[in-house]
Assembly symmetry: C2
Homo-oligomer: 624 residues x 2
């Protein structure tokens, strides 16, 4: 078993793809993870901004959460409709592109690409934030831990959808179970104590207020809290991954996910309010996440606490997986339309779009390094992409209903319109409030990405036009090629090459470069030529190849060969020159370093210096 | 003009090689640079070890220099003979390998490879040391400057021998001129003042003695000073680069180089003694090189000083060029014998063995980074490789004279024997005195390198045995291949592929992968098939290709194709399957990122999963 098989799993055949589809039970952890896990960082992000208000800040968390939940409900109805209308996958790129035109599609695509990279980065760094709350002495190693988790996620993801699905189930349900227990017990204590529960372990005292409340601050808190919603699109994007009936299964999953998210967000907000739990400075020494404080307050520091924190860490880190699942699908969809290199459409050994994963990992790793692995510094970049995509998707749906009028299309148009309006307003709020903090980076990156995609598309279209063929096949002048075999010594590889050459043409030339004074078996070959090659062919009455000996006073082999081939091409107008290049296939990758470089260089030189009429034929020889 | 042409020069044709040969005038700077420039760091290295002796230390520099000069004279006579006996290039690898056997050759090769890497590193870092003496505030940036110079040297060297030769002439003669002036003027003042010249600018006061003299210390000083000799081999190694009569021209150059080196070393030692100039701590704040101190003492800080220091910097940095010229030749010689990957024998666009340069640059850069760019820390690693190679080369020469007895072969044998003895003793002295300081690294690296070379050789021999063919060509069963053309749409590229396929076989299969629900012009192709391809062929009475439509419910293209090709291979026993893969050749390298990945992947998959009977034919298509 090879090390790559061990790490990434055995290669999958295409026929295995159906088995990679997931059922409704697995749907919640696979596609809900991003949304559900955002309960762990959305409230945190909002409360962090409320720190300057001190104790008073906590009073604002309930109304702000209420506003977020209303937006969430609107999004839910809006996206249910999208799933129904696009049962083959209704990502923003598709919906906006099909209904609003390519420009809108590209805008959504750029916004989404940025969003997914940030999903991965925020997920991982939030997971590590949870870990550091439990084990504070790990704080100096935040970035390193983030990168190790990114590496592990990459390895797991290179194994494919199904294998990652299995990794998901337990931590997801553990996360939901423990958090719901914390909320239930906490609310029970609150009710019993008449709204003033006694914490088992008191949360850190809130710092004194250093600022007064303002509309501006509340808007910023709202837009930070909105990061809790960024996972909503995942389900509609991944409808195709569900079993039949896909739309129904997907909508069921979406309903459960949104309902759970609402319970979690509302519960956390209420507990923060009643237990007076506020955010701590994520860059400060005593940093502790909201969920850690809440669990300590409700349950104390015991095995339950560690299970809770452990499941939060796992689920947050795994939530980055939504990006791993969706980013390659997105780049593939864009590449299929010719706006990204076609390499994103290729599937690797585990039926994944490997290049999408490589690019995602590189970008996520870069971001984590740039921002030192701390979530809070990434959040200003975050929600803007997601909400821009939401808005475009909903706006696209309005046009969709207009074009496909049905029984309830006016109501549907209204629902999507409300969604578009709400997310549009949120996009503007997020952009304005977060602009200086970093949203300008996103605002700058989006047009750059769009320009890149347009340039790629233009190139592909030019090539397509150039190679377009409107005439029928030209059937005149079809002559066998002149075959040239570079040969350094008489070997089983040469024998194979000569046999192949004779099978395709009567005009075969064997070319040997004579390296003047190096005793390289040169004279030997001239002797062997007659005995080993010419005689048997004569006896069989087969056409005789031409034996050409090139002299190379400076001992180079490639240049005389190249000159000869190019001159043959010039001499024989309208003929193809086929150059046979043997390629040794070794058993170990490191042995490949020892072979074929001259062949590769010859091929490259022929490609660069040759014209349309030179054709390279690779003759593989397998090591025994 | 492309940026690569601007940086590395236009590509050279092989016929340009003769013009790259150098005359006797250019021979001194090209091959003497390493030897001559070592006058700038040899005495420095010796005096650095004498620091603990204070003023008393300087008294020992004269006798030690005398010992070094005696060794140098022995080496001179010994190597003159080598040049005469090996007019085609008598590097230690060749001489030791041919006369003492492959084992000795490999030992010399390993020692020399290490030596050349160190030559490059020591040259550059010594050059930067000279610069820092003149402009002390650059000291914190030592390493960065070293790396920038390495980069510049690489760029210059990638342009080829001739262009670097031109860069050499002026600084070499400037260096020789200014240093000889300093020595002459200094000795004149010494003579006039009765042995006690007054310095124009007094050198830093020598620190008080903190240690007593010992034989051990003197041996260490001697072995450090021996680094001044490491460049001696360069001429005999590069004889081939001289014009005819090569041996005579080369020997002339060697004579001039050694004579100049003797004058420089003796002069510097004398001046140090008379002006009481000692080394300063290279890691300390007030570091100043010996030559800088001497020039200041003799001439003061004026334009002459800056010209001198500037030429020293340049010459030292350029001396690294000896490594650039010889290392690739050495690795090529080793690769020709099958002990290093054959890639080292390939010539790049400027007729250089590019891979040797890449490896040299990587290793030198690594060393500079590891040692922070300070010469002194590299010197313990240095002389051992060079002296081991010297010893093996001289010992090989003894055997050579034994095998080729001539008129004066006994005398010659004695001269080379004396050289072998002297360098052998020096090797042991250097190894013992420098062992703890770092020579153990060299002593460890040499066997590792040898093991690597032996492993490479064993692999090449196994492959050679496996592919060896003792039988004549088998002329039965030569059938044209079954040609498979993967085709996605009707284009000029497809047309070219079909025409080529028909020219080599009557059994052509056109395979189209039908991507279920993506409207990719699929139905179009089925319609076009008859009209554009089948009809013209029928009318011309040519064989009809088979049109095979593969269904791919999961939208993958490669896997169904691969499965189909492999199954065809299984079905048709004893037949070759030729797969035609079109390759788009674009005009700019970055455009290459947008194309051919699927072709490359298909080729790779066919190579890995295929058997002996699958052959890949590349059909290039050139962008207009």
């Amino acid at each position: 078993m090879q090390i790559t098989d061990l790490l990434f799993g055995r290669p999958l055949a295409t026929s295995d793809e159906r088995a990679e589809h997931i059922g409704p039970a697995a749907g919640i952890p696979v596609f809900g993870l991003d949304a559900l896990s955002s309960a762990a960082y959305g409230p945190e992000a909002a409360l962090t901004l409320l720190i300057p208000l001190g104790l008073a800040g906590i009073h604002f968390i309930l109304p702000i959460t209420a506003a977020i939940l209303i937006l969430l409900v609107i999004l839910y109805f809006s996206y249910s409709q999208t799933i129904e209308a696009y049962p083959h996958g209704g990502g923003s790129f598709t919906v906006a592109g099909e209904n609003l035109g390519d420009g809108a599609g590209l805008l959504a695509a750029a916004a989404l690409m940025i969003d997914y990279v940030l999903t991965a980065a925020v997920g991982i760094s939030a997971g590590v934030g949870a870990l550091i709350s439990a084990v504070p002495r790990l704080q100096p190693h935040t970035l390193e831990i983030c990168l190790v988790i990114l590496l592990l996620l990459t390895v797991v993801n290179m194994r494919g959808v199904r294998d990652t699905g299995v990794v998901f189930l337990i931590p997801t349900y553990l996360f939901l179970g423990t958090l719901l227990v914390v909320i239930a017990v906490g609310l029970f204590h609150t009710a019993v104590s008449g709204g003033h529960p006694a914490p088992v372990i008191a949360p850190p005292k809130l710092p004194p207020a250093v600022a007064a409340v303002s509309l501006w601050l509340l808007l910023r808190v709202f837009s930070s809290g909105c990061t809790a919603m960024t996972g909503v699109e995942a389900v509609s994007n991944g409808v195709m991954a569900f079993r039949d009936p896909t739309a129904k299964n997907a909508r069921g999953s979406l309903t459960v996910i949104i309902a759970l998210l609402i319970v979690l967000l509302a519960g956390i907000a209420a507990l923060c309010r009643f237990y007076s739990v506020g955010a701590t400075d994520p860059n400060g020494p005593g940093y502790q996440s909201i969920l850690s404080q809440l669990t300590l307050a409700v349950a104390g520091r015991n095995w339950f606490y560690y299970v809770t924190i452990g499941s939060i860490l796992l689920v947050l880190a795994l939530s980055a997986n939504t990006a791993f699942a969706d980013f390659p699908r997105l780049t593939r969809a864009i590449a299929l339309k010719g706006y990204l290199p076609h390499v994103f459409t290729l599937r690797g050994r585990r039926l994944l779009f490997s290049w999408g994963i490589y690019v995602l990992v590189a970008l996520t790793g870069g971001l984590l390094i740039l921002f030192g692995g701390v979530t809070d510094r990434l959040i200003p970049l975050y929600a803007i992409g997601a909400f821009m995509a939401f808005t475009l998707s909903q706006a696209g749906m309005i046009v969709h209903w207009k074009r496909h009028p049905g029984p309830r299309s006016t109501v549907r148009m209204f629902v999507n319109g409300l969604g578009a309006f709400a997310t549009g307003v949120t996009t503007i709020v997020v952009l304005v409030t977060k602009f200086v903090e970093g949203a300008w980076v996103t605002a700058l990156l989006i047009p750059c990405l769009i320009l890149l995609m347009v340039a790629v598309n233009r190139h592909y279209r030019r090539i397509a036009e150039e190679t377009a063929c409107h005439d029928p096949l030209v059937v005149t002048n079809i002559h066998p090629p002149i075959v040239i075999i570079p040969m350094d010594r008489w070997s089983r590889i040469s024998a194979k090459a000569i046999r192949f050459a004779l099978s395709i043409s009567n005009e075969v030339q064997i070319v040997h470069v004579d390296i003047a004074d190096v005793d390289h078996g040169d004279h030997e070959l001239a002797l062997l030529w007659k005995e080993k090659i010419l005689e048997p062919l004569r006896q069989a009455g087969l056409p005789e190849p031409k034996f050409e000996q090139l002299h190379s006073p400076y001992r180079t082999i490639l240049m005389p060969l190249l000159d000869y081939i190019l001159s043959e091409e010039r001499i024989h107008e309208n003929r193809h020159i086929a150059v046979l290049v043997p390629e040794l296939v070794v058993r170990h990758w490191w042995q490949a370093l020892l072979h074929n470089q001259r062949s590769s260089l010859l091929k490259l030189l022929l490609l660069v210096r040759g014209k349309q009429r030179i054709v390279v034929i690779n003759i593989p020889w397998y090591q025994e």
